[in-house]
Structures are given as structure tokens and as C-alpha cells.
């Protein structure tokens, strides 16, 4: 048997079905509006780490273009982390201008008329206040959106009503990591506007089938190789709404001369950096405790994607839909703060390689969305190894009522 095939996932998850998926779900403006209302608005979205706002007054800006929103994620004097609308209550100017992504502040002053808010968003100073009419500062704080923390990850929720608790969304992952994620410093952050449906780009990061083809030169046998040339996943786990995949790290991977040299100086190989003490890992990391483990992909419905790597790095993707054929895509990389120059250079190698690999993953997205318009065919085929992609379509179909059965589209 030349393939790492243990189980047919279609047998493990019969309710998934095996029919081709009608691609109109990625082209229909009406479907997109339904997804915006029923899928994105009521749900929690993972946007960062508590380390990004370690001290009171630390803040970063998180735009949510899906709803034309800009948020200030700030740690208050009470050490509570809040998500405040980056929008002055006077005439709507941003209190932190476009182009500033993070910082430290004692308060936020609008550059337009000097309205000043404290770290909890309360309006502290209104210049020329007596010129306003029956004005009460208490009613004019920065608007706040729901914000909650799980395992050090910061989540936001934009629903107008009280959303379901975060733990309901985290669901099956809830107690699987128990404090595993700590001291994760943001060391890379990229953003791009991509002309494709959000599901088209999410799908590109939820299967390994593309790896030998899309990443042939850039990841030569890093997560394939040996007895797994077509990059089958070690394990795919589909939960009620969430899902998780574990991918292999080839123990015989030949690092480049530069990777080898820096890896030796840092003390661990850059990739796959297999964890010797497998049993010390919490249940949620490398759930099968496979010695050839490379990394896990965990997706909390609908858009919270965090990948956990054997070398300790954590990668977060954000997919912000802005139209049926447009998505704002963000890549955030977290790792322990570099202790010396070699570790900083090691991170730079990883940053360069990650953005190169991601740019390859993105190479097909815009042309795919384009040819969708041609109506040349109206279904896409998914292999058993792409069951995690199918899982998302099944969920979206169930929530929005978009029929997936081939004859009724």
C-alpha cells in the first residue's frame, strides 16, 4: 500500500454524502447576503492573542470590512480586554487613523475636534461641551462589541443581540488545550484583498491534496514524501460545526543549507521539529500523538482558523468576506519572542517561507472565481481527502437553506 490511507472518511461521516457541490453557492449575491446575515453576523471571530495587549493601554486595530467596521482591541486600566468601535461619537471620524495597526495609549483623542475617550471607551473630554444640546458624556462613549477570550485567543462578535456564549462555538475544542498556548508574540502580519468568494479561499487551506502540485518547489517533501506522496492527512475530525485536521511532518525532510545552519544555531530544526515528548501534549494537539506529526489545522465555525505547528508556531488566518466575489484575507504568525539574533533570523526564514507558501495557495483563487462566471459547469467534485471542505458546504447549506443536492440548484 503506497498511500497513507487508513479510513474512508465518507464511511466515518456518512451524513456528509458524496455528491458534487453546486458551485452557484459561491456565485449568488443573494446567497452571499444570507451568509452575511445568518453565518457571519451572529458568530464569534478569532482575531488575535492576549499577548498583543499585554499591558493596560496596549491596543491593536482590527478591521471587519464585512460590516464596514473598525475595532480597537484595548486592555483597560481594569485589565479587561474590550472591543470598541474605532469611531468617534461626534461625527464618526476614526479615533485611531487608518494606517496605524497597534500601539500604546493612555486614552484615545479624535484628531478632528479633540473628543477624548478613556481606555474603557468612556467619553472623558468634550471640548466646547456647553455648545452642545442636552448633552451627557455618559451617553457618548465608544460603542462596544462583544469580546471574549478562550485559551488566550481573542474573539469578537458583532451581533446586535446577545450572542451565544463563546464556549458554545468553541464547543468540542473547549477543554482540549488547557493552557498550552502561552507567550505567543505576533511576529508576522500580512493582509490582501482577493477577488474570490470566502469559501473558495477557505477551501484552499482545508485540504492537503494541492500540496504536491501548488507547493512542488517550495515544500519539497516537507509534508509529503516517503509513503505519502499525495499528502493525505494523518487524521480529519469533523465535529458538529467545527473541524480539525492533522498533517504529517516528513522526518526525512532535507532542510535547505540556510535552514540547517540556522536550525543548528537555534537548537531545533525549523521543520518539522517533531515533539519528542508526545504524551506531554494536551489532547487537542496532535490528537493521535503521531511521531511524524507536522501541524494541526483547527477551524471554529465559521471563520476562526488557527494552525498549531510542531515547532511551537501558531498561525491564524482571517477571511473577511466583502462581497460574493471579494474577501479580505489576513495572515498572522505567533511564536515565542526571539531571545537572540539567531532566533530572530529563524523567525524571518519562517515568515518568508510562510508568505511564499501562502502566495502559492492563493495563486489559483482569482482565476477560479473568474471561470465560475462562465457557467461552463455547475458542480465541483470533492475527494474523500477533501471532506473538511465538504463539511463547510454542508453547514452553510443547512444554515442558509441553499440546496446541495445536484438536481435542485
Amino acid at each position: 500500500m503506497d498511500q497513507l490511507v487508513k479510513t474512508r472518511y465518507a464511511d466515518l461521516y456518512p451524513e456528509m454524502g458524496t455528491n458534487p457541490i453546486p458551485l452557484s453557492i459561491n456565485k449568488s449575491p443573494d446567497q452571499y447576503e444570507k451568509e452575511r446575515r445568518l453565518v457571519f453576523e451572529p458568530e464569534w471571530h478569532l482575531i488575535g492573542r492576549i499577548e498583543q495587549v499585554a499591558e493596560a493601554g496596549d491596543y491593536f486595530v482590527q478591521d471587519v470590512p464585512t460590516f464596514g467596521v473598525s475595532l480597537l482591541i484595548v486592555k483597560g486600566k481594569d485589565h479587561k480586554i474590550r472591543a470598541l468601535h474605532n469611531m468617534c461619537r461626534h461625527r464618526g471620524n476614526k479615533v485611531v487613523s487608518t494606517g496605524v495597526s497597534s500601539g500604546h495609549a493612555h486614552g484615545f483623542s479624535c484628531s478632528f475636534h479633540g473628543w477624548t475617550y478613556d481606555l474603557s471607551g468612556q467619553l472623558a473630554v468634550t471640548p466646547d461641551e456647553d455648545q452642545f444640546f442636552s448633552f451627557d458624556r455618559a451617553d457618548h462613549g465608544l460603542a462596544e462589541v462583544h469580546c471574549d477570550i478562550w485559551e488566550g485567543f481573542i474573539f469578537i462578535n458583532l451581533s446586535k443581540t446577545t450572542p451565544a456564549p463563546l464556549l458554545d462555538s468553541v464547543a468540542e475544542f473547549a477543554d482540549q488545550f488547557q493552557g498550552y498556548f502561552k507567550d505567543l508574540d505576533l511576529f508576522a502580519h500580512f493582509s490582501a484583498d482577493v477577488d474570490c468568494n470566502w469559501k473558495v479561499i477557505l477551501d484552499a487551506f482545508a485540504e492537503g491534496y494541492h500540496v504536491p502540485f501548488i507547493h512542488g518547489k517550495t515544500l519539497p517533501e516537507a509534508i509529503t514524501g516517503g509513503n505519502n506522496p499525495l499528502c493525505h492527512m494523518q487524521n480529519i475530525r469533523l465535529f458538529k460545526r467545527n473541524r480539525s485536521l492533522s498533517a504529517m511532518g516528513n522526518p526525512d525532510y532535507q532542510p535547505t543549507p540556510l535552514e540547517a545552519l540556522v536550525g543548528a544555531k537555534v537548537g531545533t530544526p525549523i521543520f518539522p521539529a517533531l515533539k519528542a515528548d508526545l504524551d506531554e501534549l494536551p489532547p487537542g494537539v496532535n490528537p493521535e500523538k503521531n511521531p511524524e506529526w507536522g501541524f494541526d489545522i483547527n477551524i471554529i465555525f465559521p471563520l476562526s482558523y488557527f494552525a498549531v505547528w510542531a515547532n511551537g508556531m501558531v498561525l491564524v488566518y482571517n477571511f473577511w468576506p466583502t462581497g460574493v466575489g471579494q474577501t479580505r484575507f489576513e495572515v498572522k504568525l505567533y511564536w515565542a519572542k526571539p531571545a537572540n539574533a539567531a532566533e530572530r533570523i529563524n523567525q524571518e526564514i519562517t515568515r518568508v517561507m510562510t508568505v511564499s507558501v501562502v502566495r502559492e495557495d492563493m495563486s489559483s483563487l482569482e482565476t477560479t472565481q473568474e471561470v465560475y462566471q462562465s457557467d461552463a459547469f455547475d458542480h465541483i467534485h470533492l475527494s474523500d481527502q477533501e471532506i473538511a471542505v465538504r463539511h463547510n458546504y454542508e453547514l452553510i447549506s443547512a444554515i442558509t437553506g441553499w440546496p446541495l443536492t445536484p438536481n435542485k440548484n
Binding site: 502580519h189 493582509s191 545552519l261 539574533a341 524571518e348 495563486s363
Partner: protein, 109 residues
């Protein structure tokens, strides 16, 4: 002389003005604008010295590098930027990839 390297690195000094760049986006732009000859020449100049470079830089506090060491660090980060060009693609950029200019580096150090 700007981009002055520490003593003992005169052999790679000629590359400093081109490759001692402070941000990721500058280093990436330089890579994309360079020929494979320039990239390979820089790579072949740096690699034989790089173990020594790492040992030298590791002696300093990462956040308080003196100017000469800061220049050496920026050149090392440029080496990380062009490593895959020589080792994997034999070209300044991958053949089939999303436009690098459209990937905005929000954190750009």
C-alpha cells in the same frame, strides 16, 4: 559611510548598501527587483560567513544592537529573504504565486 559593518566583515561590505534594509517590504522589493546573478552573488558571499555572523550577533542584546551589528542583522534578514530563491526556485520569485505587491506587510520590521 552609511551601512558600516563591524570589523572583520570587509568581504561582504560591498553588499551592505543594497541589502542592509530595515523592513520586510523593502527586503522583498529588493529581492523582486534583483537579477538571479545579484541574488546568488550575495548568497555566496554571506553563506560561508553566516555561522560566524550568527555567533557574533548572538553576543548582543537583540533589542540594543549597535549600528554596525544592526546593519549586519538587516543583511542577515535579507539572506533569509533570498534563501529560497537560490535553494528552491532558482529565480527571484516563485513561478505561480499571488502578486507579492498585493500582500501588504502590516507588521513590517
Amino acid at each position: 559611510m552609511t551601512h558600516q559593518l563591524p570589523a572583520g566583515y570587509e568581504d561582504i561590505q560591498p553588499y551592505a548598501d543594497t541589502w542592509a534594509l530595515a523592513t520586510f517590504s523593502q527586503r522583498q522589493s529588493q529581492r523582486l527587483a534583483s537579477s538571479m546573478e545579484d541574488i546568488t552573488a550575495f548568497y555566496q558571499a554571506m553563506m560561508p560567513r553566516f555561522d560566524e555572523v550568527l555567533t557574533h550577533l548572538n553576543r548582543f542584546d537583540l533589542n540594543e544592537l549597535p549600528a554596525a551589528e544592526q546593519t549586519l542583522m538587516h543583511m542577515s534578514l535579507s539572506l533569509a529573504q533570498i534563501g529560497p530563491c537560490v535553494a528552491l526556485w532558482r529565480a527571484p520569485d516563485q513561478e505561480n504565486a499571488f502578486d507579492a505587491e498585493r500582500m501588504e506587510a502590516i507588521l513590517d520590521d
